[in-house]
């Protein structure tokens, strides 16, 4: 399968934070959810992909091309939604059309205005007068109106109410109908990704700690709930992390079916991305 995005050994050092050997591969036609807590390195990774930050090492290939050498060619085919970074808010959606048609070769004004109508966005009101949800929808309309092949989205649903989030997710699902298109989406709202992502990549403290297909994660991984006595009987190599709760132990296991064959513990739930994140970050390993 052709890869639309390949990151190899990406490193970037800041004072007090470091991206360490980040490796990510996104095949064509897929959606990758990029999860991690605030400050884990999601935005830094996205900024490196887009060459916004400087002095990083490693290799980033988009559409098989180097992100720095072939920057212009690559960016013609990328649509971005960045967290809190957009057009100056005194401009209107009409102004944005007038600007963007001279920036992107493939800018499609007709499609852009269709999205504005579909999303019920005003054409002549300044961005500053729009609600957060409307503004986000405008950012997405701008990102997809030049027929990009790859969408890079940084926290596109952050701060939105459930209705607006649902609408935004629908837009992405519409975009991915074209099998040539892919989405790389960072979010700490994991429930959104459970619906749309084909792959989940988990970053913590600047390191990729997990990258799997959604099926692998949600079908295979499990959370075992057991008593202290039961927990003490479990071999340390049979679980990833555990958390001691008030009345029970929660244990993250890589394969709940294999685990259930080995141990006679009845309560093994499927994992959600949220409790996977919590256990991976806050859970302990040493007994």
């Amino acid at each position: 399968m052709e890869n639309i995005l390949e990151i190899r050994n990406l490193c970037k050092k800041y004072n007090g934070f470091e991206l360490q050997n980040v490796n990510i591969t996104l095949p064509k036609g897929m959606i990758m959810g990029f999860i991690g807590e605030n400050g884990a390195g999601k935005t830094t990774t996205i900024k490196a992909i887009l060459d916004i930050i400087k002095n990083y090492t490693g290799e980033i290939k988009i559409f098989g091309l180097d992100n720095r050498k072939d920057e212009k060619k690559i960016k013609e085919d990328i649509g971005v939604v960045l967290d809190d970074m957009f057009f100056p808010e005194i401009l209107t959606p009409n102004d944005i059309n007038s600007v963007m048609k001279d920036i992107y070769k493939n800018w499609d004004s007709e499609l852009y205005f269709k999205y504005l109508t579909d999303f019920a966005l005003p054409k002549t009101k300044a961005i500053k007068t729009l609600s957060k949800g409307m503004r986000k929808k405008l950012e997405i309309a701008v990102a997809i109106s030049h027929h990009p092949k790859l969408l890079i989205l940084d926290e596109p649903t952050a701060g939105l109410d459930p209705i607006a989030r649902n609408e935004v997710i629908d837009i992405f699902q519409g975009f991915i109908q074209n099998e040539e298109c892919s989405i790389f989406i960072s979010s700490h709202i994991t429930s959104d990704l459970e619906h749309i992502a084909d792959y989940i990549t988990f970053i913590n403290a600047g390191k990729i700690i997990l990258s799997k297909t959604r099926e692998e994660l949600l079908e295979d991984y499990g959370i075992v709930k057991c008593s202290k006595e039961e927990f003490e009987k479990i071999d340390k190599s049979d679980f990833i992390k555990y958390k001691k709760c008030k009345y029970e132990y929660e244990i993250l296991v890589e394969n709940r079916k294999i685990f259930s064959r080995k141990y006679s513990i009845n309560t093994i739930d499927r994992v959600t991305l949220e409790n996977l994140m919590v256990l991976m970050i806050k859970g302990e390993k040493e007994c």
Binding site: K54, V80, P88, E89, D102
Partner: protein, 210 residues
């Protein structure tokens, strides 16, 4: 490139009402003889373009623009080209208004004096913007204002020291030369200043960690 220039001009257009009111107030003051309209040229041009830097910074446009094709390269170039457009427009407006004020007040148009004053103000505008822009790109609009104030203060102190303790005859010779050939020297100096400023800003922006 055109898109980036348009973005700045559209932002300025959004504030056109405020600018028109400001111009009207100054026009009234000029008719009353309280001030010369020419001084509005550096004030308006610099203020208008500084506001675009502030809006850009507030909405983190700098990071967004780099995600666009050739964004890092073209946005700096576009800022300087938009500046040139604004300076030309402001100069035309101020010149016409200055002629009008002169005619209404004295029934004659003092072309020579008005043209020289406007030329001087144009030079001051470009000198100011050539210094401001690299500072804007390096420090951002908030810090750049402080840095510029410090620079102006230091230049004033240095000027004071030079005029008090040093022989100024070479400087006087240069000024005499400029006085004779100002029509050639000043336009060349303005173009050079803007070009050098642009190159410095471009370099700063290319290396900038956003």
């Amino acid at each position: 490139m055109l898109g980036f220039i348009k973005k700045d001009l559209l932002m300025i257009k959004s504030n056109i009402k405020i600018l028109a009111i400001l111009l009207l107030i100054y026009l009234v003051m000029a008719f009353q003889g309280q001030m010369s309209l020419s001084f509005l040229l550096p004030f308006l041009s610099v203020m208008v373009m500084m506001s675009t830097f502030s809006y850009d910074s507030y909405n983190k446009w700098d990071a967004y623009v780099i995600s666009l094709p050739n964004g890092r390269k073209n946005s700096v170039k576009a800022k300087y080209l938009a500046t040139i457009i604004i300076i030309i427009l402001t100069t035309i407006i101020i010149t016409i208004l200055s002629f009008a004020v002169s005619y209404v007040k004295t029934n004659i148009i003092d072309f020579g004096s008005i043209t020289v004053t406007i030329f001087g103000c144009l030079f001051a505008t470009i000198l100011l913007q050539s210094f401001i822009y690299p500072a804007m790109y390096k420090f951002g609009p908030e810090k750049a204002r402080i840095v510029l104030m410090v620079i102006v203060f230091c230049v004033a102190i240095a000027g004071g020291i030079v005029t008090t303790y040093f022989d100024l005859s070479p400087l006087i010779k240069i000024l005499e030369f400029i006085n004779v050939y100002w029509l050639i020297v000043i336009p060349i100096a303005m173009i050079l200043m803007l070009y050098i400023s642009y190159k410095i800003s471009e370099r700063i922006y290319f290396k900038k960690e956003i």
